[in-house]
């Protein structure tokens, strides 16, 4: 799958299903995120990581889409983590309590794989 300006790309990194969220995470990203959720599930990994390093805007609709991804992963008993959040969006994940349901990985604690590692 090709990376697009806004959307979601799925990668399989070291046994972890990764959804790279790119550009604007809003209503326009809904089809891409739905597709990515399905693709990531198909990898059958025990952990799902949401990678926000390339995301530059998340609005309330985007939050709702992330809630949808999180709900699906929990239903399928997969652990969820998130990385690449700016301090602002990390704060938003905290006040929305999303961070109570996913592990927030500090950037310096992760060996960043090369960008664009797509399948």
């Amino acid at each position: 799958m090709n990376a697009t300006e806004s959307g979601a790309v799925v990668a399989d990194r070291d046994g972890v299903a990764v959804i790279e969220l790119r550009g604007r995470i809003d209503a326009g990203a809904e089809p891409a995120i739905a597709r990515a959720g399905a693709e990531a599930a198909a990898l059958g990994r025990a952990e799902l990581m949401l990678d926000f390093a390339e995301a530059d805007y998340i609005n309330s609709t985007g939050i709702a889409l992330i809630v949808g991804l999180l709900a699906r992963a929990r239903a399928e008993r997969r652990e969820v983590s998130a990385r690449g959040l700016t301090p602002h969006y990390r704060e938003i994940f905290e006040i929305t309590r999303l961070s109570d349901f996913m592990r927030i990985v500090p950037d310096d604690a992760l060996a960043t794989p090369g960008p664009g590692a797509s399948t």
Binding site: N59, S60, G68, I95, T96, F101
Partner: protein, 533 residues
């Protein structure tokens, strides 16, 4: 004296004949020197009235054959002769004579004398009656005029003698009492915290009673407003105080509003008074709030609403006298016409002048004003307070077509304005998120993504606080709630995953307020320029 001449209640007969009542009390007859004969009541429908009116002379009571209660009474009272007093065909009294004291019968000469006396006495008594009636009417008129003067005096003393001088605002007031003074009143109440209370009211009824109730209401409002401030609570309390002493069939309609001078925020509650109107860029709009008039029932509650008067906008408070004025063909000036005139805008005094001009051409010359007319205008100066250290300064205003994704335009514009003010880093990000969410709400829920209905974003600076006001024309409160959404329920699929907008906004800003003003809904976001990281 050889005869007694008891005059039977001339006035009573006349009064009863005129009014057609059957139970008027008869005053004592005037015959001080002779033994008094009882007053004889003659009902207006008694056939003897018609008989007397056409008798043309002395009537022998014994010989009369009529089914008449008055005749029976006259016989019982020992009346022998009745002499009708007639003037211009109208029976104005009857001279009743008992038996002669000499115990002889009345002679032909007696009857002739009485007949000619009646012919002259009738008109003379009538003249006397007319003089008395006119005197009574003049006294009545004088009393009414006196009452009017008292009512006007009370009214004039309890209305403000001047309008307050309020920086950044222009206030104007117009009051013209009807000849028969109604119970209109208005008031300006200085409140702590740079706020001003505005009152307009109308007491049902007219004259002195209305003026007294108006004076009491005004005094109660003044004292309560100082203590409670919140308009709904003020009206609630004044209603409680007025109810026990309110005269029957009277009540008071009243609008009470509190204006925050610096922000233009107007909080108001309405006890059944005419809705205030506001002239906005989009035309005239109503400021709605519900409540029962004061003094009718205790235990009432009053809805409290808010609106923000923007620079250049004018609010009109008005009484019935204008909208309910009629022209000679019975057509009413009407509330729609008043609202339409408000929509044309103009500063406060110009608006009042245009209303009065329109009223004059509507009613035509020679119109007698039916009710008091009261108009109070409140205009926020354009660029309110520029150069004034305390007032709010508008920095930018932008209209955005309501289309998905256009919130980006709002975010960019607001960020451009805010960055030079020192808002940066995390606080700038918070501002951008809040503005984006609020604009999206306005375009989606308010304007339903109709591209021809723009969302407007106004950025202004009030001291150390930046205000972003986002307005749509949906007239409804935004979807969602600032309460923390239930994430567990959303994750369990029991609730929609959406509904984060208002909660996010509320958490991003230092102050959030929602205003609904007619169809316009405004979300106000306040950011302190010096705050946390």
């Amino acid at each position: 004296m050889t005869t007694r001449l008891p005059i039977t209640s001339l006035r009573a007969v006349r009064r009863r004949l005129r009014r057609g009542t059957a139970d008027a009390a008869a005053p004592a007859p005037a015959a001080p020197a002779a033994p008094e004969a009882p007053a004889i009541e003659i009902a207006p429908n008694d056939p003897i009235v018609a008989y007397f009116q056409s008798a043309g002379g002395v009537v022998d009571v014994e010989e009369l054959e009529l089914d008449s209660p008055a005749l029976v009474a006259m016989r019982e009272a020992g009346v022998r002769l009745a002499v009708p007093l007639v003037s211009q065909g109208e029976l104005i009294g009857v001279l009743n004579l008992g038996p002669r004291l000499s115990e002889q019968e009345y002679t032909a000469d007696d009857r002739k004398l009485l007949s000619s006396l009646a012919g002259q006495a009738g008109p003379a008594v009538r003249v006397g009656q007319l003089v008395r009636e006119q005197e009574a009417e003049a006294r009545g008129r004088e009393r009414i005029e006196q009452e009017l003067r008292v009512a006007q005096l009370i009214q004039a003393n309890f209305l403000p003698h001047e309008v307050p001088d309020l920086t950044g605002w222009q206030l104007a007031a117009y009051y013209r009492p009807a000849r028969e003074v109604g119970g209109d009143f208005y008031d300006f109440i200085e409140l702590p915290g740079d706020r001003l209370g505005l009152v307009i009211g109308d007491v049902t009824d007219k004259g002195v009673p209305a003026a007294m109730v108006m004076a009491a209401s005004r005094t109660l409002l003044r004292s309560t407003a100082q203590r409670l401030v919140a308009p709904g609570e003020v009206l609630e309390e004044v209603n409680e105080l007025l109810c026990p002493d309110m005269p029957e069939k009277m009540f008071v309609t009243c609008l009470y509003a509190v204006l925050e001078r610096q922000t233009g925020r107007l909080t108001f509650a309405n006890a059944g008074h005419n809705l205030p109107y506001v002239a906005t860029a989009e035309g005239g709009a109503e400021l709605r709030a519900r409540g029962m008039p004061l003094g009718l029932l205790p235990g009432m509650q009053y809805e409290e609403r808010e609106a923000v008067v923007q620079p250049g906008e004018t609010v009109l408070l008005h009484s019935d006298g204008l909208a309910e004025a009629h022209n000679p063909s019975g057509e009413m000036f009407g509330f729609p016409r008043t609202l339409e005139l408000v929509g044309r805008g103009g500063d406060g005094q110009a608006m009042i002048d245009s209303m009065l001009g329109a009223l004059a051409s509507f009613t035509g010359a020679g119109w007698e004003q039916e009710d008091d007319i009261t108009l109070v205008t409140l205009r926020r100066s354009l660029g309110a307070g520029i150069g004034g250290p305390e007032a709010e300064r508008v920095l930018a205003e932008v209209s955005i077509p309501s289309a998905p994704g256009n919130e980006r335009l709002a975010i960019e514009r607001v960020a451009e304005v805010a960055a030079p003010l020192g808002l940066a880093g995390e606080r700038l990000e918070r501002l951008k998120t809040a503005v984006g969410e609020a604009t999206m709400n306005a375009m989606e829920h308010g304007n339903r993504y109709r591209e021809d209905v723009p969302a407007t974003i106004r950025v202004s600076l009030d001291g150390g606080r930046l205000w972003v006001r986002i307005t749509d024309l949906g007239g409804e409160a935004p979807a969602g709630s600032p309460v923390l959404p239930d994430l567990e329920a959303k994750l369990a699929g029991m609730q929609s995953p959406r509904g984060w907008g208002l909660f996010l906004i509320e958490r991003m800003v230092d102050e959030m307020r929602a205003e609904t003003d007619g169809d316009r809904h405004t979300l106000e976001l306040g950011f302190d320029l010096e705050g946390g990281p």
